[in-house]
């Protein structure tokens, strides 16, 4: 046998083996990468356990890529830019517009339709140009956290329900304690203080940042009032020191350490706060409303959303995985574990083992309506950052009036919406 003939036999045999392996590939060989920050925030191993249930049902393996929120965001953005996103990705509503516009995440409406999935059971869907790109798996409300010991030390008996009551309580806290009354983290690295600690006041009094999906910051009297309220709090020294450099975690630390009387934060932090400060005497309360407002309150919500990468080679299996997470039983379990509200309207989480404060927050949530105008907004983080910067300029006196501050922000926002 000549050398060429030997080579031919070897090449043919290797090719045949490779072809055989390819043909025998089935669902058992499919592994989906699932990149998210949820695994870090859930109890150890809880997410893996839920995913293992899917593997048992379908044979499709799930490889979890769990990192803190900020790292996940950077990795997802980098993956979107390079077309190397993980198959299934945890999404924040504020990222959807940009990733959908880039074509980095898949159109879930098409996938749901192809799979015959009944989407009426989903409590919400985040859309871009009429199609769904993100499904909120669980929702987190942002109520007002209240340190009852600080209130008692300040001689306050009732939790404030209106802006003027809130300012009165702040004055007493300032006068009688060493604690700060309120905190808005304004570090530009993560400017979501604008969403969670500023806009919540507007939404709680029935206000809006947008009108018909477009920025409506000018000629918005209630928003002017909110800006003035914050200016008054800042000038009166009611805020934690150095809010301009604080991050959300710093605010939580201040609250945990008993140096902050009120904060607006997600109930997802309840377990952490309880574990890290077991003696902290705190409760949840509805956001104070503007004095003359007696309508329904909007409550800021954030969600753990889910989407599929456009570069995913197993979209069918990825959609099956999303349907599994959104099934009433699994979704209820996830919501219970995460101290959150389910994304499937048919899910009935058993909250009996959850902290009673969670149930209190749930009640507050049910008495109002969920709102977050940054969800699905274009370059949402940049919108928050530009308002953040303008708010600091107003605090510092560089901008004279709240109207000027809002006009400058409107100009920046319009550029993003056009």
């Amino acid at each position: 046998m000549t050398g060429w003939a030997k080579k031919l036999i070897v090449v043919t045999t290797v090719a045949a083996m490779a072809a055989g392996m390819a043909v025998s590939a089935s669902a058992d060989d499919v592994t989906l990468e699932f990149q998210q920050w949820w695994g870090v925030e859930l109890p150890d191993g809880a997410l893996q356990e839920l995913c293992d249930g899917f593997t048992e049902e379908t044979g499709v393996a799930i490889e979890l890529l769990s990192n803190p929120y900020a790292d996940t965001k950077t990795q997802v953005a980098a993956g979107a830019a390079t077309g190397t996103m993980a198959d299934v990705v945890g999404l924040d509503g504020s990222w959807v517009y940009d990733f959908a516009k880039q074509g980095a995440i898949a159109n879930l409406s098409e996938l749901m339709e192809a799979d015959g999935y009944d989407d009426s059971q989903l409590s919400d869907q985040i859309t871009y140009e009429g199609s769904t790109y993100m499904i909120p798996v669980v929702n987190f409300a942002y109520p007002l956290y209240v340190n009852l010991d600080i209130l008692e030390a300040a001689g306050v008996k009732d939790i404030p329900a209106t802006w003027s009551e809130f300012l009165d309580v702040c004055a007493k806290i300032e006068e009688n304690t060493d604690a700060a009354a309120y905190c808005i983290p304004l570090n530009t690295e993560a400017p979501n203080g604008i969403q969670n600690q500023f806009s919540t006041w507007l939404w709680a009094s029935g206000g809006n940042l947008l009108s018909e999906g477009k920025p409506a910051l000018t000629d918005n009297e209630l928003l002017v009032d909110v800006v003035e309220l914050f200016k008054e709090m800042k000038d009166s020294g009611y805020f934690s020191d150095g809010v301009e450099a604080l991050m959300e975690q710093d605010m939580v630390n201040e609250f945990e350490n008993g140096r902050l009387a009120f904060m607006v934060d997600g109930i997802s932090h309840l377990t952490t706060i309880k574990n890290e400060s077991p003696d902290l005497n705190f409760t949840y309360a509805p956001m104070p409303k503007k004095d003359d407002y007696d309508g329904e309150s909007g409550m800021d919500v954030a969600n753990w959303g889910i989407g599929i990468a456009e570069n995913c080679e197993h979209k069918e299996e990825a959609m099956a995985f999303i349907e599994y997470l959104m099934s009433p039983e699994i979704n209820a379990k996830l919501a219970q574990l995460a101290n959150a509200f389910p994304g499937n309207s048919n899910a009935e989480p058993d909250y009996s083992e959850n902290d009673e404060r969670f149930l209190q927050a749930f009640e507050i949530f049910q008495n109002g309506y969920a709102i977050n105008e940054f969800t699905g907004a274009p370059t949402a983080e940049d919108l928050m950052r530009s308002m953040n910067e303008q708010l600091i300029l107003y605090f510092d006196g560089d901008t004279e009036t709240p109207e000027d501050m809002l006009a400058a922000t409107q100009e920046a926002w319009e550029a993003a919406y056009n």
């Binding site: 880039q102 530009t188 370059t379 910067e389």
Partner: protein, 293 residues
């Protein structure tokens, strides 16, 4: 292929793995970024339009970019000068003959510690130190150095100085170790000869030490210039470029353009400008190294 050609090609064969790696990890990404900078917007826009150098014109007209440039220059120049001063001071202390080698070893380790920490650890540590409720403010109030707490990272007036201070702290050990190595290589004969000529310690320092260290010092300054120019993690994790844009540097400006505004072409343009500056410094560095040889 004859033996002569084979012999000629053999060295290139040995170099091939490195060349392939450099192509994939260095040359191709750089060319891609340069290419991106010539389109209206890439990645976010599926059908980008070639716009030539107009992105460069826009970036160079952008006042926010020039603010970032001025902050970067302050950050880089102050960092380099302070690194040099502290590095030299500590290296001379560690090179003294008045301390035992054991004592010097302990201090060498202590002084070198900041160099061992990653940017995230440094950022977290300094954020805690500089916090209005942090240790530094405790001492400031305790010793009545100020009537009220100093908001180091939250004040637009001093935030840039504060992040520069953090960078100085994290970067001086590199100078210290390099200068110390240089000092230990200077022959004692030179100092003895200088002493015989009547030189005091100041004259010896400027007449012997500095000229002997000159090649190391020039290399250090050039490397530090490039590294500090690109410093991102430390600033991002402490202030995020704020308050407002008080600590915005070119690197944070580029990041925001790319990852929050999704203007990848503008970000690429900024990156290319930074690349050009670093390349010029790099050329000087290589020329200097060659001249030394």
């Amino acid at each position: 292929m004859n033996a002569k050609t084979k012999k000629k090609l053999l060295p290139y064969g040995y170099l091939l793995p490195t060349i392939i790696l450099m192509l994939i990890l260095l040359v191709i990404p750089i060319l891609m970024v340069i290419d991106y900078s010539l389109y209206d917007n890439v990645i976010a826009n599926k059908n980008p339009i070639f716009v030539g150098l107009s992105n460069y014109a826009s970036v160079l007209k952008d006042s926010a970019f020039w603010t970032a440039v001025s902050h970067t220059l302050f950050f880089v120049i102050v960092s380099i000068v302070a690194h040099m001063f502290i590095g030299m001071l500590f290296a001379m202390l560690l090179n003294t003959r008045y301390l035992s080698s054991r004592t010097k070893g302990i201090f060498r380790t202590i002084y070198a510690l900041p160099w061992m920490f990653t940017a995230s650890v440094i950022a977290i540590t300094w954020r805690m130190l500089l916090d209005p409720n942090g240790v530094l403010n405790y001492f400031i109030l305790f010793f009545h150095l100020s009537e009220e707490k100093v908001t180091f990272l939250a004040s637009r007036e001093i935030a840039l100085q504060s992040v520069t201070l953090i960078n100085i702290w994290s970067g001086y050990p590199f100078y210290m170790i390099s200068i110390l190595a240089g000092l230990q290589g200077i022959s004692p004969d030179l100092y003895e000869a200088a002493a015989l000529d009547g030189a005091d310690s100041v004259h010896s320092f400027f007449g012997v030490t500095i000229p002997q260290l000159k090649p190391i010092l020039i290399s250090l300054v050039m490397l530090d210039f490039v590294w500090t120019l690109q410093q991102f993690a430390l600033i991002w994790m402490t202030t995020g470029g704020g308050p407002v844009n008080a600590t915005e540097t070119v690197s944070t400006w580029i990041y925001k353009q790319g990852f929050t505004k999704f203007q990848y072409s503008t970000a690429s343009t900024g990156a290319v400008i930074l690349l050009i500056v670093c390349t010029i410094i790099g050329i000087f560095y290589v020329r200097h190294q060659r001249a030394e040889e």
